[in-house]
């Protein structure tokens, strides 16, 4: 089997998010990048399949400027056999449709049986890319997968996690696209052997211009911090004083 896991290097801001007014986008602090945690669940699911089905190859692909190499290599250290970097140098926002088009255009002739992504990216939280890859390649798909079983060589059974604690049980033939929800497995840490192997390996680099990259269909005109809408009372004083005050409130409201 051949599995493609789409991974994203996300920016996870610390307590301070600053907007760079010249670019209109957030100001990146170089230490704030990491592999999207939802993608780690997708990768783990691919590796679990690889453990069960002989001759399975797992590829990790990501789009972005040079810095994204770190996330791809992290995926390889965790266990992906190969890393593919679609080089798109411009910093800032890339729409899900553009992302999906680039990945589809790369994956089209490569005979992947399964294409997996995390259910969402922690930074822009669109929940679109996987479904759009499926739409572009005309593959069946399921999003928010919380259980996955290979039924036969060509058929997958999944449970989609739905709202209000429901699950939709779905069967779909491969090739297909699955977006993976957190909690489906326990993602592993890199093993030393994989770390050493990755060091020896080169990434496959593809310039975005060599692939199909349509215009964005929507644009972000502005990012902004939400107004502080705290409607509550901030307790004041030292930790001890706040503790006493909180107990007073709880007592007054008859909770104690």
């Amino acid at each position: 089997m051949k599995i493609l896991v789409c991974v994203k290097q996300v920016y996870v801001p610390g307590t301070d998010v600053t907007i760079d007014h010249s670019s209109g986008w957030i100001q990146y602090n170089p230490t704030g990048f990491r592999l999207n945690s939802y993608d780690e669940y997708a990768l783990e699911e691919a590796l679990l399949i690889k453990e069960r089905i002989a001759d399975t190859r797992v590829h990790a692909v990501s789009i972005g400027p040079g810095r994204t190499e770190v996330a791809i290599r992290r995926a390889m250290e965790i266990g992906a056999d190969e890393g593919i970097q679609i080089r798109y140098e411009k910093e800032g926002y890339l729409s899900p449709y553009q992302t999906a088009s680039l990945i589809s255009s790369y994956a089209k002739e490569k005979q992947y049986d399964l294409i997996m992504t995390g259910v969402t990216a922690e930074d822009d939280m669109q929940m679109q890319t996987g479904q759009m890859i499926a739409g572009t390649l005309n593959y069946p798909y399921a999003s928010s997968v919380i259980k996955l079983e290979m039924k036969t060589e060509h058929l997958v059974y999944v449970e989609r996690e739905c709202d209000a604690m429901r699950r939709e049980c779905v069967e779909l033939p491969m090739p297909c696209v699955l977006t993976i929800q957190s909690g489906i497995n326990k993602p592993r840490y890199p093993a030393l052997s994989n770390v050493l192997r990755t060091k020896q390996q080169k990434l496959m680099e593809i310039p975005a211009q060599d692939l199909v990259m349509p215009e964005a269909r929507e644009k972000i005109i502005k990012v902004f911090l939400p107004e502080t809408t705290a409607r509550g009372v901030f307790l004041q004083g030292s930790a001890k004083e706040k503790a006493v005050e909180l107990l007073r409130i709880l007592h007054e409201k008859a909770f104690l």
Binding site: M132, R166, L172, L225, V233
Partner: protein, 327 residues
């Protein structure tokens, strides 16, 4: 220019889900305050009754699209049926709720319709006859204003962002029923399962003490438990992050994909306040949040905000409780 706004209804057990009425309310705002340009589509097996109900409640025109292969939600079948229909109507906007059905369907549908797709919309701005859409980034730490650049735009609306639509009681919308056949699909939806978790303890508790990733390590659950111990009847809840790392079982998870709770008191410790978590505690009467980050989103819904490290604060509460209140 075509200004039709299509709403794709979500329903279960023979009735439209509340989020459907919220999506219609969003569509009404896009329509300039009334329902004249709205067309609600209700795909499913037998949906004429649901369509009647929506038309009666909101005054909008409703089309029930009934057919084989539509009984249970199936992305492929829905797209097959809706694609042709929507290509004929060429709506300006197609509005869906941002739910596990809505966000599953919307992006792939947008690709088929060459439409833009904007998900988790919380607000609409109007300027110079143009609409822009406000959606969160980074779990609401930041917001983006997005403008579509296509003839059609698919949007999904965040549950709770709009109040349910109500129309004028004397004007009922028109209802028509069309039959469609999704034909054969590669994807097969087999069944819907309800979670096996026994969550009654949480949904019936007056007091819920809830732990987030901010507790830092599993051992700190003992702090949460001790804190819960000072209340007469309390239960332990948590964020999804705590379940995902295995500190607590999923039956403790509060939120859209967990339990919806409405206690008298909800005390959130080390929880950032992601929208999926906060949607699950809307019914709480009093919310108290303890978080080291003064900008944490949880504070925007909390009645009492404590900016402290829970590792110091909870022991301080326990100590003061022992001193002042326990007899």
């Amino acid at each position: 220019m075509n200004d039709t706004i299509v709403v794709i209804a979500q329903h279960s057990q023979g009735a439209a889900d509340p989020v459907t009425y919220e999506a219609i309310a969003c569509a009404m705002e896009l329509c300039g305050g009334d329902n004249s340009c709205i067309r609600v589509i209700v795909p499913g097996k037998q949906t004429a009754d649901i369509a009647e109900k929506i038309a009666g409640t909101t005054g909008a025109d409703v089309t029930a699209v009934e057919g084989k292969g539509l009984k249970l939600y199936n992305a492929e079948a829905y797209i097959k049926v809706l694609e042709g229909f929507l290509k004929d109507i060429k709506p300006l906007y197609i509005v869906l709720p941002h739910t596990s059905t809505g966000y599953d369907l919307a992006p792939a549908l947008a690709v088929k319709l060459k439409a833009s797709c904007i998900t988790a919309v919380e607000k609409i701005n109007h300027a110079d006859g143009k609409h822009t859409f406000i959606r969160p980034l980074f779990n609401g730490r930041l917001y983006a204003e997005v403008v579509p650049e296509t003839e059609s735009t698919v949007i999904t609306v965040q549950p709770g962002a709009w109040h349910k639509a109500v129309g004028s009681p004397d004007k009922k919308g028109r209802v028509n029923v069309i039959t469609a056949d999704a034909g054969s699909t590669k994807t097969r939806t087999i069944s819907i399962k309800h979670s096996e978790y026994e969550s009654a303890a949480l949904s019936q508790s007056d007091v819920i003490i809830s732990a987030g990733r901010g507790i830092g390590k599993k051992e700190n659950l003992s702090l949460i438990r001790e804190l819960a111990g000072i209340f007469k009847r309390s239960a332990i809840g948590c964020s999804r992050a705590v379940c995902d790392v295995g500190w607590l079982g999923y039956r403790h998870q509060v939120g859209t994909t967990g339990v919806t709770v409405s206690p008298k008191l909800y005390l959130a410790c080390g929880i950032s306040g992601a929208i999926q978590h906060v949607s699950g505690i809307k019914g709480a009467q009093t919310i108290i949040a303890v978080n080291t980050d003064p900008h944490a989103r949880i504070f925007s819904v909390a009645d009492y905000c404590v900016v402290e490290d829970l590792e110091q604060f909870i022991p301080a509460v326990l100590e003061a409780y022992g001193r002042l209140y326990s007899e």
